[in-house]
């Protein structure tokens, strides 16, 4: 009954507000303390999207926006080229070779990781694929 009244009045106990704020602030803190997580996520994200369209890796931007009640990730991923439709579904097949299906421009600019993308589920292969500059995942 009290809970129902509170809901009706639109108030929530301040301890809930504290809990919410704490949750958000810690997510933000943990992200800020682990830049390599963001780098790895950025790389994986671009890898996945590269399976469908050709993107400009240099201009990829990832931001985290703190709103009142939520933390949101904003990714800006410029697309350079889109494959002609009907050329097959490269994504979910077992052994697609996106490089072969991509237009010549894509082949020229695509990073080595694009070719290896279909193996993204395999951690061993993912490790091998890692760019030398990428920080080996030390997430804790």
């Amino acid at each position: 009954m009290i809970e129902w009244l509170k809901k009706m009045l639109g108030t929530q106990p301040s301890s809930n507000t504290a809990k919410e704020r704490l949750r958000l602030v810690l997510m933000t803190d943990h992200l800020a303390l682990a830049p390599e997580i963001i780098e790895n996520m950025k790389r994986d994200l671009v890898d996945v999207i590269s399976r469908y369209v050709e993107v400009d890796r240099q201009k990829v931007e990832i931001d985290f926006e703190r709103e009142d009640r939520a933390l949101a990730m904003m990714a800006s991923i410029p697309i350079i080229a889109v494959n002609r439709p009907g050329g097959g579904t490269p994504a979910d097949e077992a052994e697609p070779t996106p490089a072969a299906e991509a237009p010549p421009a894509a082949q020229a600019t695509a990073s080595p990781s694009v070719a290896a993308t279909p193996t993204a589920g395999d951690p061993a292969k993912r490790k091998r694929r890692k760019k030398p500059s990428a920080n080996p995942a030390t997430a804790h």
């Binding site: 301890s15 704020r21 704490l22 602030v25 810690l26």
Partner: protein
């Protein structure tokens, strides 16, 4: 992280003496009750017959001597020992109330950067040869003072109040300490009535986030102010819920299987505290 290595397991051959346990009491945030907790746990452990050394690592802002009521007896401090001006024995101050308890005070007129981390580590090891417990009262913050306080420790007690800022800082400190220090949590200044009304984070709320072994919960206790005024820590008393809570923490530290104020026993624990605050006190 790598620069914070606990002092673990010297080979038995090198150390024939059984070393005591060095436990740093830390929190990140200031004013949450590190010094109060150190003093009370020191007495609670000594009351059990253990030999206890309390080290004030808050160089520049020394407080532990005041809380213990030993300020008039302090002649030398940690830095005097580190800089070999005096011996450890000359600097250790025996407690007024307990023959098992001794204090190594901090220097009030020096700075945290004056402490040599390696020498501090060696000093704590020296104390561990002579005491069962070495409790180190850590300064607030995560800078040099924190690093020096942590240097010789092998375990950590983190003190947290049920507030957003305190929990956030403890989370950071625990991240810095890593698992090696086996951090255990003391929640301080809890007000059960406020928790019931939804106006304060509960023990469960705090530990849902921190996920640390819960050593104990200390209520927000007006008597703490009185005992600090007098320089007679509450844990010296045999009676009372808060004194009992300190004694229980000490027993838990000593490895006794005391029923912890866990999530399961929440109701009865809070009810007891509630009754205590509700006027059933003598």
């Amino acid at each position: 992280m790598h620069e914070l290595q606990p002092m673990h397991d010297e080979s038995p051959a090198a150390a024939p003496v059984k070393l005591g346990r060095a436990i740093v009491v830390t929190s990140g945030k200031g004013g949450v009750g590190k010094t109060t907790t150190t003093a009370n746990l020191g007495h609670a452990l000594a009351r059990r017959g253990a030999r206890v050394a309390l080290v004030d690592a808050d160089v520049g802002l020394r407080n532990l001597d005041i809380v213990l009521g030993l300020e008039s007896r302090v002649k030398y401090h940690v830095l005097d020992v580190l800089e070999e001006q005096v011996t450890l024995d000359e600097a250790l101050v025996p407690d007024k109330h307990s023959e098992h308890l001794m204090l190594l005070a901090a220097a009030q007129t020096r700075e945290k950067d004056d402490v040599d981390t390696d020498k501090m580590r060696a000093l704590i090891l020296q104390l561990r040869e002579r005491f069962d417990y070495v409790l180190i009262d850590c300064p607030a913050g995560i800078e040099m003072g924190f690093k020096n306080a942590v240097a010789g420790a092998e375990e950590a007690i983190v003190v947290c109040t049920p507030e957003v800022s305190a929990v956030r800082d403890v989370d950071r400190v625990v991240g810095l300490l890593g698992n090696k220090f086996k951090p255990q949590l003391v929640i301080n200044r809890l007000r059960p009535q406020l928790v019931k009304k939804g106006k304060m984070l509960s023990v469960e709320d705090v530990n849902a986030i921190l996920r640390l072994p819960l050593l104990g919960v200390i209520a927000d206790e007006p008597e703490i102010i009185v005992t600090t005024n007098k320089g007679e820590p509450l844990a010296l008393r045999e009676e009372g819920a808060t004194a009992g809570a300190y004694h229980a923490i000490a027993a838990r530290i000593a490895g006794e299987d005391v029923p912890a104020p866990t999530v399961e026993s929440k109701e009865s624990f809070f009810d007891k505290l509630g009754a205590f605050f509700g006027g059933r006190r003598p």
